[in-house]
C-alpha cells in the first residue's frame, strides 16, 4: 500500500479531521518535561514528537481506579456501573504501547474473560507514530522496532518535514477518507537505532530466566530499592489490582473499586494475621521481573516487557530493568561457558 505525505504544518488540520467522527486521545505536555494521553480539546496542544507518556494508554481500558459495583447499605443491594466502550481514536501511540495493549487483551481474554476490560476495549482505533529512542527505550531488544505497525489502523512514520502516513486496515482507510494528502515518494524509513540494549540474541532471551532464579542479582538490586511500587504502577503490561469498598459520608452508599496494585509492595502478599508471602524485597524484585520475562512468557513465547523504559526512568533509586537482565545474561553466558 502506498503511503501519503503529511507535512508538519498540516498536522493540526489532520487532528481536526480525525476529531470530526470520534473523540481523539493524544499525547499532551504535562509538568516540566512529561507527557500524558488526554482527550484532545485544542488540536494545537497535541504533541506527536515525544519520548513516552507517563501512563500508557492502558489507563483507558483498565483505569487506575475502576468501580466494579455501587452498593446500597440500607437495602443491602448493588448495581453495576455502566460499562461504555472507548469508541475513540488513539492518536500518536508508540509501537511498544500497542504491543502492551495486545498483551493485556490476552490477559483479559484467556481463562475467565473479563467483561469490564473487553467492553471498554471495543471500538478503539489506533493511529501510531514512530519515535526516536532515548536512553531508556529498549523495545528493539524485545523485537519491537520504532516503526512496528502491528495492530495499528494507521501509522505515521517520521520523515523529513513531516510524516509518511500508512493506512493499514479498513478502519484506517476510513479514518483518512476526506483528508487529501499527496503520495509519499520515498521509501519508508527503517527502525531507528536504540542506545539501550539487552545483550542477548533474539529468541534466546527467555532461556536466561530458566537459570536466573537463584542469582545474587536479586538481593544486590533489592539493597537499593525502596519498595515504593512505582516500577509496577507505570508499567504498561502490569495488570494486578486491589479491590476496596469505599463508603460515602452518609453511610448509606458506596462503591467497590479496584485500583492498580504493585507486587513490589510489602502488603501485596499479606494475609490476615500478618503473614507476608514474599516478605523479602529481593523475592519481590524477582517476581516482578519474572512476571515480565518468564511466567506468562512461558505460555505465549514472548517477553511481557515491551521495552518502554518507564520503570527504569521513574525509579528514584536508579534501578534499571535492562541492567538486571543484562547481569542475568552475563551470568547465564558464564555458566554456559563453564559447561
Amino acid at each position: 500500500m502506498t503511503a501519503m505525505m503529511l507535512d508538519n504544518d498540516r498536522v493540526v488540520d489532520f487532528v481536526t479531521h480525525l476529531q470530526e467522527n470520534k473523540p481523539v486521545y493524544a499525547p499532551h505536555a504535562k509538568g516540566r518535561s512529561s507527557f500524558v494521553f488526554d482527550q484532545v480539546e485544542k488540536p494545537d496542544d497535541v504533541v506527536l514528537d515525544y519520548p513516552r507518556t507517563l501512563h500508557s494508554i492502558k489507563k483507558f481500558f483498565l483505569p487506575p481506579q475502576d468501580d466494579l459495583l455501587d452498593f446500597n447499605l440500607v437495602e443491602n443491594s448493588f448495581t453495576e456501573p455502566e460499562l461504555k466502550p472507548f469508541d475513540a481514536v488513539f492518536l500518536g501511540v508508540h509501537s511498544y504501547d500497542l504491543h502492551a495493549v495486545m498483551r493485556l487483551d490476552y490477559v483479559y481474554s484467556q481463562g475467565n474473560p473479563e467483561r469490564n476490560y473487553l467492553a471498554r476495549r471495543q471500538g478503539a482505533v489506533f493511529v501510531g507514530v514512530s519515535f526516536t529512542p532515548d536512553k531508556h527505550h529498549f523495545s528493539g531488544s524485545v523485537g519491537i522496532g520504532t516503526n512496528d505497525t502491528t495492530g495499528f489502523d494507521v501509522f505515521l512514520h517520521i520523515v523529513d518535514d513531516g510524516y509518511a502516513v500508512e493506512a493499514l486496515t479498513e478502519a484506517g482507510t476510513d479514518l483518512l477518507q476526506g483528508f487529501d494528502m499527496p503520495v509519499y515518494e520515498g521509501a519508508l524509513p527503517a527502525s531507528a537505532h536504540f542506545e539501550q540494549h539487552i545483550y542477548v540474541p533474539q529468541g534466546k532471551l527467555l532461556d536466561v530466566f530458566d537459570h536466573g532464579y537463584h542469582s545474587v542479582v536479586w538481593s544486590d538490586e533489592a539493597a537499593h530499592c525502596t519498595g515504593c511500587g512505582t516500577c509496577n504502577l507505570i508499567c504498561p503490561t502490569c495488570s494486578c489490582f486491589n479491590v476496596e469498598d469505599h463508603v460515602d459520608v452518609t453511610v448509606t452508599h458506596g462503591t467497590r473499586t479496584r485500583s492498580w496494585d504493585s507486587c513490589m509492595l510489602r502488603g501485596f502478599g499479606e494475609v490476615a494475621g500478618g503473614e507476608v508471602f514474599r516478605e523479602n524485597l529481593a523475592d519481590r524484585q524477582r517476581h516482578r521481573v519474572y512476571r515480565k520475562f518468564k511466567y506468562i512468557s512461558d505460555e505465549t513465547g514472548e517477553p511481557w516487557c515491551v521495552g518502554c523504559g518507564r520503570c527504569t526512568m521513574n525509579c528514584t533509586a536508579g534501578i534499571s530493568i535492562v541492567n538486571i537482565v543484562n547481569r542475568l545474561v552475563n551470568e547465564y553466558d558464564k555458566s554456559r561457558a563453564a559447561v
Partner: protein
C-alpha cells in the same frame, strides 16, 4: 456502638490545624452531624462530657499536664483516635527532641527558661493505648472520612501501608524528582492521595513511615541528589524524629 455515637474533640500541643480541618468539612459537616453527637470540643463550644464513644485527639504530649489529661480522656472514651501528625507521631514538635531540651529552652527563653516545664514531644501512643490513627499534617480529610464512616459502620478502619509514590503514580503526576526536587514519597505512608506532589511540591513525610521502611535506600537516594548524610537524616526527621528513635512504630 450506640446508634448516634457521642464524640469529643480534644487538643494538645500542636498548631490546631487538624481541629480547624474538622470545621473545614463545610460540605459534609451537616451529614456528619446526622450520625454523631458532638459533646465536647473546647475550640468550638462550651461544656464538658463525662463519657464518650469516640474521642478524636490532636496534638502531641509535651507537658506533665498533658499526660494527666490524656489519661483522663482515655478513661472516659470507648474509642480513642489520634488525629494528625502531632498525635500520631509527635509531629513537627518532635524535631526539638533531637537536640538536648535544655539547649533549646535556653535559646528561646534565655535565663527565664525554668519558668516553663516541658517534655520531649510525644505521640499519644507513647502514653495511652490508641485505637486508630488519622495521619497527616494537617490530618488528611479523606482519611478522617474513612475512619469516621468505618466507626459509624462498626468496622475496623484499614490503614494504607504503602508508599505515597503509589498514589502519586495512580494520579499520573510528574514525579517531582524529575524537577530536581527531593521527595520522601518512597518511604512515606500513603493515604493523602499524594496531595503535595500533585501540587508540584515534595512529600515531606508528614504521614509517617511505611512498615519496614527502606531507610538506607532512601538515604542513598537523597545523598545521590546532593545532600550530605546529615542533611538526609534531617529531612527524614522533620516529622519522623520519634519513629526513627523507636518511640513509635
Amino acid at each position: 456502638m450506640a446508634l448516634k455515637p457521642r464524640i469529643g474533640i480534644f487538643d494538645f500541643t500542636g498548631c490546631e490545624g487538624c481541629e480547624l480541618n474538622h470545621l473545614n468539612f463545610e460540605d459534609q459537616l451537616l451529614d456528619i452531624l446526622e450520625h454523631v453527637e458532638i459533646v465536647e470540643w473546647r475550640e468550638a463550644m462550651d461544656g464538658r462530657a463525662d463519657e464518650l464513644d469516640i474521642a478524636f485527639v490532636e496534638g502531641s504530649l509535651s507537658t506533665p499536664d498533658c499526660i494527666e489529661r490524656i489519661h483522663e480522656i482515655r478513661r472516659k472514651s470507648k474509642v480513642l483516635v489520634a488525629v494528625g501528625a502531632c498525635a500520631v507521631l509527635g509531629g513537627i514538635n518532635a524535631m526539638k527532641n533531637i537536640r538536648p531540651i535544655e539547649e533549646v529552652r535556653e535559646e528561646v527563653y534565655g535565663k527565664d527558661k525554668y519558668l516553663f516545664p516541658t517534655l520531649p514531644a510525644l505521640p499519644l501512643s507513647a502514653v495511652v493505648e490508641v485505637d486508630h490513627s488519622i495521619r497527616g499534617c494537617p490530618m488528611t480529610q479523606l482519611e478522617f472520612l474513612k475512619v469516621f464512616t468505618s466507626l459509624v459502620m462498626g468496622k475496623q478502619p484499614v490503614q494504607e501501608d504503602y508508599a505515597v509514590c503509589v498514589e502519586c503514580k495512580l494520579k499520573e503526576n510528574e514525579c517531582v524528582v524529575e524537577k530536581g526536587m527531593i521527595c520522601l514519597g518512597p518511604v512515606t505512608r500513603a493515604g493523602c492521595d499524594a496531595h503535595c506532589p500533585t501540587f508540584g511540591q515534595m512529600c515531606i513525610g508528614c504521614r509517617g513511615l511505611v512498615t519496614d521502611p527502606r531507610l538506607e535506600a532512601m538515604e542513598e537516594i537523597l545523598v545521590a541528589q546532593g545532600l550530605s548524610m546529615d542533611e538526609a537524616r534531617k529531612k527524614l526527621q522533620m516529622f519522623n524524629a520519634n519513629q526513627l528513635e523507636g518511640v513509635t512504630s
